[in-house]
Amino acid sequence: MMTDEYAAGGCDKVLLVQAEFDGELDAAEAAQLAAHRAGCPVCRAAEAELAQARELLQGDLYQPMPDDVRARLLARLDLAPPQPAPARRFRIVSDFAAWRPPTFGFGLGAACAAALMLFVLSPDEQSLTDQVVAGHVRALQPGHLEDVLSEDRHTVKPWFDGRIDFAPPVKDLVAQQFPLKGGRLDYIGGRPVAALVYQRDKHVIDLFVRPVAAGTAVAPETTEKNGYNVVHWAQDGMAFWAVSDVERNQLRDFAAIWQRTP
């Protein structure tokens, strides 16, 4: 076996040969090396091997992000698709992912492609309610509901440490028929929020939590959007949005129980 005998003792210039091969030497260094290499069989052999290695790697080895991975990633992050890089076809992501207005500075082709996309509202026009409902719907897609799967609030709460810059309150409401299922990180209004996942019978309740100015108190307000109920309130320096397809009264109960549970 000849493993690394070049580097180990065959010739100490081998790594320089490689550096030249990789375009890392300046002209003076390269000239110096060329003089040495003319009389060094080890370096010439190394050069041949480098060429072989590169030839091996000529194949189609690059792993660009597949469209489905991209769509899921952007949807989870609530981001619009990037401006297309040159020579990459325009990607259409779900309408939920594209709540930021597309930028049309990149030509007609993209404008045509945009005609295929659903018209999207600017963030200002789209209320937080819409966003939490969109976040809830996204999370219902397979495998995306919880990042931390636990019915124990002492597991769920620390999970947010270091992932988010506030400590969301986590309550276990199993005695009230709303068992905790887990939690995840979500993005609402362009900033990270904690999403706690509860269950009522077969229904999932997402509770989005983010900090608000201390002293802000908002009594529960119930709205409905695309068949989902949303109850929003604020207490103890946190704003809450509970989103679910459970009946409106049950969701109100959930909010009321949460509010009075220490």
Binding site: D22, E49, L57, V69, L73, P82, R163
Partner: protein, 180 residues
Amino acid sequence: MAASAQNQSFEAVVLPHLDAAHNLARWLMRDATAAEDVLQEAMVRALTYFPGFRGVNPRGWLLQIVRNAAYGSMKLNRGIELVPIANGEENGGAAIADLPSGGDDPETSLIKARDRSHLQQLIGALPVELRETLVLRELEELSYKEIAELTRTPIGTVMSRLWRARRLLVQATSEQRKAS
């Protein structure tokens, strides 16, 4: 992307480098699902850190976050091993030698060696430090300096890792040819 990232949106600065992020995550994790989980984690971190990003190299910045997330995940999931390479030059050769070599005639085995999936296997069998250096150099075409910064490794180590990675690949394919 020469302009400072200041005043530019995350979408404009970071998202053009998603392919690079995926390429690195996919090669480090060697598994599509694990790579996607790592990217998810990395992108959440990137969004969180982005307000503080003032650099001019968003690709390197993102790749570093991806790398950290990948190593974190590898440590958590011990099923995916982190192979230390500190103790000698020969590490990784054994893993490569374990790969099926087949009993084909030289021509077939040469074709096989060039076959994409087979080559992927060979690269996948490299110790993670060698693999990431090779991927960053040959597929991302980063400079030695960029790789050194990204992996927090001295340039000399980058050079010797790259050398070892290339040699192991060449040897593995030529041994397979000889064996058949």
